[in-house]
């Protein structure tokens, strides 16, 4: 039980004034930069800048002080009351049982002053989350605990009337008991994760970066290579090759560097704690995020890996909680990038009680995937080959050899697609080089769709798509009979399920 007494309205940490001041300054930063850049061209403007900007900053600083002074928060019974506003005064009351999740975050400025933001996400209208931006971390943690406590209390009160949910109360006392650190990334692990990122993906970011900075070096590169071209006209083709080789090396190095940097920024000191009713994740180098995801809200978990990452024995997991207010911005963060096999198993059983992998699964038709790959490839291979034939005749038909790897890869992909299910869980596996594994509790399904185009009908194949509150996942090219069995069985699971899905 928390001893925090917040029945009287309270202000935040006074250092918060600085946070507000810097926030307000940031709002006019663009204006500031613009005037400086104009000012550097025309020194006379500096005078106007002085006249304009300095009083503006004074006003903003004063404004920040009043923002701080007028911001109070209070916890009365089971309501959080926040008053704020300088010109327009605002009073917000949030009943504790409406609170969906509470996050503690801190950006660079806040970290310098060792303050944090407490963000309260309610299930109301979108993007309408409340923020208390300047609290000490220990205080924020206490406040968070207090709010959750009040939330549970209101639920218990309701639970006494409603006998349908006996598990809730027994779990309550367990909350404190179980607290298991699932992952705590060391620097070595972090480097491993960074090096085994999907470089193809980050490579595209690198590519955008290279093209962005290309114009700066264009002149230099052109001068350098035009010298080559002039002197060794016959080596033009060679120089072209060298350029490509150079480009590839730059591309590879950039990809790896960017992957590393991104990994350090996002996953520095990542710590995941498994509690009996929630998962807590704190991560980040400059901007530290603390997330608490109620296990009930998790709709499905998606594990993925790549050959490199498998080599170091890691796979990553992405948690998909149901979409609610403010969730969209949070989406990308709920990823645990490095899980060993036993940690994956722990996560699975932690999130999904009594989870067992289904022993048998329905496979997809691998040949259908191969056909699909061939059809898609034809859209660009045939025109390319035709154009090539028009210009270079027979040798260009070697382009058609591309069919072999494409069809092979599609076939291998399809061979690894399957959907398994047991009493409670659906497990979808797909992919060969980048295998993905999805675990989805059957009763969390929102709706289901069966798709079959006119060509699939002839072959008695079909796709099944499962919709959940956190997005949909589909399994393609199942046999029609199995698809219908799956469809009917999952509907039965949902319709016979009593109680909440969230």
């Amino acid at each position: 039980m928390s001893e925090l007494n917040l029945s009287e309205p309270r202000r935040q940490n006074p250092i918060g004034i600085i946070v507000y001041v810097l926030r307000n300054f940031r709002a006019i930063a663009a204006l500031f930069v613009a005037t400086i850049s104009i000012g550097s061209a025309n020194p006379k403007v500096w005078i106007y800048i002085g006249i304009l900007i300095i009083p503006m900053m004074v006003v903003l600083a004063l404004f920040a002080y009043y923002q701080y002074r007028n911001f109070t928060f209070q916890v009365l019974e089971d309501e959080l009351i926040i008053r704020k506003g300088v010109i327009f005064k605002d009073r917000t009351v949030i009943p504790a049982d409406r609170i969906q999740s509470i996050q503690i975050t801190s950006n660079l400025v806040q970290r310098i002053f060792s303050l944090v933001s407490l963000k309260v996400d309610t299930a109301g209208s979108k993007g309408n989350e409340l923020e208390i931006p300047a609290l000490e971390r220990s205080f924020a943690n206490e406040l968070k605990a207090l709010l959750y406590e009040r939330k549970e209390k209101t639920k218990e009160g309701a639970g006494a009337l409603d006998q349908a949910q006996p598990n809730e109360n027994t779990n309550d006392s367990e909350e404190d008991k179980r607290e298991e650190v699932l992952v705590h990334l060391s620097i070595v692990d972090l480097v491993k994760v960074g090096l085994t990122e999907n470089h193809l993906k980050t490579g595209f970011i690198a590519l955008a970066f290279v093209f962005g900075t290309w114009s700066q070096y264009q002149e230099f590169v052109e001068r350098y290579f035009s010298g080559y071209i002039d002197e060794y006209a016959e080596e033009v083709a060679n120089a072209g090759l060298r350029l490509i080789a150079m480009f590839l090396v730059i591309y590879a190095v950039m990809s790896v560097l960017i992957s590393l940097a991104r990994t350090f920024l996002r996953f520095f000191d990542l710590k995941t704690t498994l509690k009996s009713r929630s998962i807590e994740i704190s991560t980040g180098l400059f901007k530290r995020n603390q997330d608490r995801i109620p296990i009930k809200k998790i709709q499905f978990v998606e594990w993925e890996t790549n050959p490199l990452r498998r080599l170091v024995g890691f796979e990553s997991a992405r948690l998909h909680p149901s979409n609610s207010a403010g969730e969209a911005s949070k989406k990308q963060r709920i990823e645990i990038p490095a899980l060993k096999q036993e940690q994956s198993a722990l996560l699975a059983t932690g999130v999904f009680p009594e989870f067992v992998l289904p022993a048998h699964a329905i496979p997809a038709d691998a040949f259908a995937y191969a056909r699909f790959g061939a059809i898609i490839a034809s859209f660009f291979l045939i025109p390319i080959a035709a154009l090539g034939f028009y210009h270079f005749e027979w040798p260009s038909l070697f382009v058609l050899l591309c069919y072999v790897p494409i069809v092979f890869l599609s076939y291998q992909f399809g061979k690894n697609v399957e959907i398994g299910l047991n009493n409670k869980y659906v497990v979808i596996k797909k992919g060969w080089i980048f295998p993905v594994r999805i675990v989805l509790p059957g009763f969390k399904m929102q709706s289901i769709a069966f798709h079959q185009n006119i060509f699939l009908k002839r072959r008695k194949l079909a796709h099944v798509k499962i919709y959940t509150a956190a997005g949909s996942r589909s399994v393609r090219y199942l046999s029609e009979i199995e698809a219908f069995k799956l469809y009917n069985y999952l509907l039965y699971k949902v319709e016979s399920h009593t109680g909440d899905w969230m």
């Binding site: 289904p358 047991n422 399904m445 929102q446 069966f450 997005g471 009917n488 509907l491 039965y492 319709e495």
Partner: protein, 170 residues
């Protein structure tokens, strides 16, 4: 290949089959409605293509013209054939809608997952005295199901029925 289902608490074969349910079709004027909508859309495209055809060299005109013709033909044929496929089925616990000739699909929403429903009617729909019933789940906009081309009172009845069913799970 015979697949084995593990530890299921029911006999799969005994479950009610969605494919065997009685499906209710739309009133026949819904087909005319779709034809009118398609005519308006394709009218715009044909005008655009004609303008393009005047501007482009002759063999391009032929190419674009024949492509538009084929697509128009497919659309109207699809509407004609697809009318027989478009139908909905109501069961005790869920609502199913199926549609599509080239791309056939069946979607089922269990009543205990429905968030809310509404009935809407556009200006052209009003001319045909047709309504659209939209059903929303927590699955976001992607999982919403809308059943167009319902008789006005049919849509109301359906909505009331579904709303009552959905509310019973609260």
């Amino acid at each position: 290949m015979e697949t084995v289902w593990e530890n299921l608490d029911v006999e799969i074969g005994q479950l009610p089959k969605v494919e065997d349910v009685y499906f209710q079709r739309h009133p026949i004027r819904y087909r005319s409605y779709r034809m009118v909508v398609a005519s308006i859309w394709w009218g715009i495209v044909v005008v655009g293509a004609t303008v393009l055809g005047i501007a482009l060299p002759e063999w391009w005109t032929l190419l674009v013209g024949s492509a538009v013709l084929i697509l128009v033909g497919l659309t109207f044929f699809g509407i004609h054939i697809g009318y027989r496929k478009r139908s909905y089925a109501l069961r005790q616990l869920d609502l199913t809608y199926r549609k599509g000739w080239l791309f056939y699909s069946i979607t089922t929403i269990p009543f205990n997952r429905i968030q809310h429903t509404d009935v809407s009617q556009g200006p052209l729909e009003r001319k045909f005295a047709l309504c659209t019933l939209s059903i929303y789940t927590a699955g976001g906009s992607t999982s919403d199901l809308s059943i167009p081309g319902l008789e006005e009172d049919e849509a109301q009845q359906l909505r009331d029925f579904i709303a009552k069913k959905a509310a019973s799970y609260e």
